[in-house]
Amino acid sequence: MIKVRNLHKSFGDHRLFRGIDLEVARGEVVVLIGPSGSGKSTFLRCLNGLEPFQAGEVDIAGIALHSLGRARPSQADREAIRQVRLRTGMVFQQFNLFPHMTVLENIIEAPVHVLGVDRHKAEEDALTFLRRINLLHRIHARPATLSGGEQQRVAIARALAMKPQTMLFDEPTASLDPEMVGEVLAVIGDLVSQEGMTSLISTHEMGFAREVADRIIVFADGDIIETGTPEEIFTRPRHERTRTFLRRIVDVPRQEGHRA
């Protein structure tokens, strides 16, 4: 489903990725962990064209994205990016709901205006999502009146409304109060395990990672330093850096309610 080969990315003079390779199979759940600044977010953003990359190849659901260097994207490049975005859904750390629209309008906006789905059909689908994530009672509310957890759940519904083949989660609970982290992780967990959605999730929630991941990728300084099953990474980390990182995180006592 997702193939990344020899990815190079720089910010100005600062070289971040110096040749990353990764493959994600259909239905696989891959969790990215690592210190801040290690490149997890940037990596996800390279996959749906929000960040240009200077060398390498990215292939998503059969569509190839090419490196741009300093050039402006050509018409073909832009079209490829757009096709990729139609097949991938992204959930942001800051939710990024559209503040001038209601919850319902947020969810149906893209299906109606991008895919041309009939408005009533789109609304029905939206209601189905909202019922599943327990937010039916808020369909006409504006995002500003929702809690962080509610907003993120709506954001997930908004991404899913486009029926993507892959979902990218960029630190989805990092901005949430601890009490709300659980409800959002529950939704994501439900999505990946029951629906079998191919997902790439970057997170600091180790308990969650342990539970849903088929594979864990450890990032540090723009490099993938280790990959493995949750069992391998959490109990027998091989790389020194991984060990240091895990020690700092896992030492903090876990709170209840994170196992969905």
Partner: protein, 497 residues
């Protein structure tokens, strides 16, 4: 209002503005035949220059008085047509004539060699002298010989101006929109040096001022005609000759006590009865009699401002989007547009559009020129307001829109712009209200809106204060509802976000 109706209304408004009737005299050849067929003799004059040359009757602000109005009427009568004044700033009288706005210009234009290079001048219809005016208690200045080292006010570009320069070492204050007499009385300048008809009406009756020295110099007023219309000049010359020989010209000037040089000496030292009567009438006229003219001016101000703002907003959106999202070449062009239009005075832009474009064959009516000038100027400011608004919308909004597959233009239209609009609204309201006042600048391209109407009425009646209050209230009455509307719109939008 649904979006489509809003857009249609906007388009119709712009079309209506552009479809305004062109100059009556589009072709600059004013043959006698053409004038007779038209039925109107158009003459250019600055009636805010006021009495006693040509000015508005305080009892009936729609009527024109003054000896030049009378002469224009006499010429028209000889042609079998009626006369119609075309209000034009004094500095723009000759350019306006060359441009074809009217058939002839008459407003105390002195016959000088420089002027004769550009236009034809009729035989003189009046002999004027120059008079020095000082404060009542002035002891040091007894004649123009005492002027070196002093500050003297006069009208720019006249023979009084030249004479002062020839005396040498005189600090000259040039006036064009107002008379210098108030400044003499207030002590801002030491003296004023002006044509006798003007001093007779404005300075002589003023208790704060007095004449100093005898009348100086001697000059002639002539009517200006385009070089391409020699037969009109010949005709006007014969009419003036006729008025002189029949005594009608004397009758006209007698009303104002301005007949011939010898009596001008006397008249300069006496107070003409007509002037005294007129000033009394001006002071007593009920303010309500001025309302129709003022409301007409207000109507023009409103129509002009709305049409210009509509253009400014539409153009501003295009320019700011081009600057932010266009290819590098177009983006640079947009930035250049903004810097040039913000960095140069609106007045000069209007002059170029109205008086300069005819040189390359584009002749615009005053209405169209005014709307284009104001619209294009304000568009530069609007573009920056919109850019600020757009950049204030968090980046995550565009990213979220893009990530669900929206093309950039759709994301801008449905996600970014509505949020940017809300942020920009106070600044846009600000600009719109400012535009209402800035619209007064179009008086320099021959449009009479509210402020110009005020100038004209106030110059005649000298009731600057009372009329000023009324006009200020009218402007306030136009702008304030706009503020209220904008604030209620802001409140409504706040409920949405």
């Amino acid at each position: 209002m649904p979006a489509r109706t809003r857009w249609s209304a906007l388009v119709l408004l712009c079309l209506a503005a552009i479809a305004a009737p062109p100059d009556l005299n589009a072709s600059p050849r004013a043959t006698l035949q053409a004038i007779k067929e038209r039925g109107i003799l158009l003459w250019g004059c600055d009636i805010s220059g006021g009495a006693p040359l040509a000015f508005v009757d305080p009892k009936d602000p729609a009527a024109l008085l003054g000896f030049e109005a009378d002469i224009a009427g006499a010429i028209a009568k000889e042609l079998g047509v009626r006369s119609q004044v075309v209000q034009t700033d004094w500095d723009s009288l000759v350019p306006g004539l060359e441009r074809g706005n009217y058939d002839m210009a008459m407003n105390g234009l002195e016959i000088t060699p420089e002027r004769e290079k550009r236009v034809l001048l009729s035989r003189p219809y009046y002999v004027y002298t120059l008079q020095l005016v000082v404060r009542k208690d002035e002891e040091r200045i007894k004649s123009i010989a005492d002027l070196p080292g002093r500050k003297v006010g006069t009208m720019a570009g006249t023979s009084a101006d030249s004479l002062l320069k020839k005396i040498g070492n005189v600090e000259i204050s040039a006036y064009s929109q107002t008379w210098p007499f108030d400044d003499v009385a207030l002590g801002r300048i030491d003296a004023a040096f002006m044509d006798t008809p003007i001093t007779a009406y404005y300075a002589k009756p003023d208790a704060r001022l007095k004449y100093a020295g005898p009348p100086e110099g001697k000059g002639y007023y002539g009517i200006a005609i385009r070089r391409s219309d020699p037969e009109l000049k010949t005709f006007i010359d014969t009419v003036i000759e006729k008025l002189l020989r029949s005594g009608d010209l004397k009758t006209i000037y007698d009303k104002w006590g301005l007949w011939d040089k010898a009596q001008a000496d006397l008249a300069a030292y006496g107070t003409p009865e007509a002037s005294r009567k007129l000033r009394a009438e001006s002071a007593d006229a009920p303010l309500a009699s001025f309302l129709p003219l003022l409301l007409k001016g207000a109507g023009i101000t409103i129509a002009l401002s709305i049409a210009s703002m509509a253009l400014a907003i539409a153009l501003g959106i295009i320019i700011s989007v081009t600057r932010l999202y266009g290819p590098p070449a177009l983006s640079a062009a947009a930035t250049a547009y903004i810097e040039v239009y913000r960095g140069t005075p609106l007045l000069i832009q209007l002059f170029i559009i109205y008086y300069g474009l005819p040189n390359i064959g584009i002749v615009l009516s005053p209405v169209v020129a005014a709307i284009i000038g104001l619209g294009m100027n304000y568009a530069a400011y609007e573009a920056e307001v919109y850019r600020g608004g757009i950049e204030a919308v968090p980046r995550g909004q565009m990213e979220a829109a893009l990530s669900v597959g929206m093309p950039r233009t759709l994301a801008l239209r449905r996600i970014v712009f509505p949020q940017a609009f809300r942020v920009s609204l106070p600044a846009v309201t600000n600009d719109f209200i400012a535009l209402f006042k800035d619209s007064s600048i179009v008086s320099v391209i021959a449009m009479v809106e509210l402020t110009k109407t005020y100038s004209i009425l106030a110059a005649t009646t000298l009731r600057y204060f009372e009329l000023g209050i009324i006009v200020a209230l009218l402007y306030f009455g136009m702008s304030y509802p706009l503020s209220v509307l904008a604030r209620s719109l802001e409140k409504k939008l706040k409920g949405r976000t």
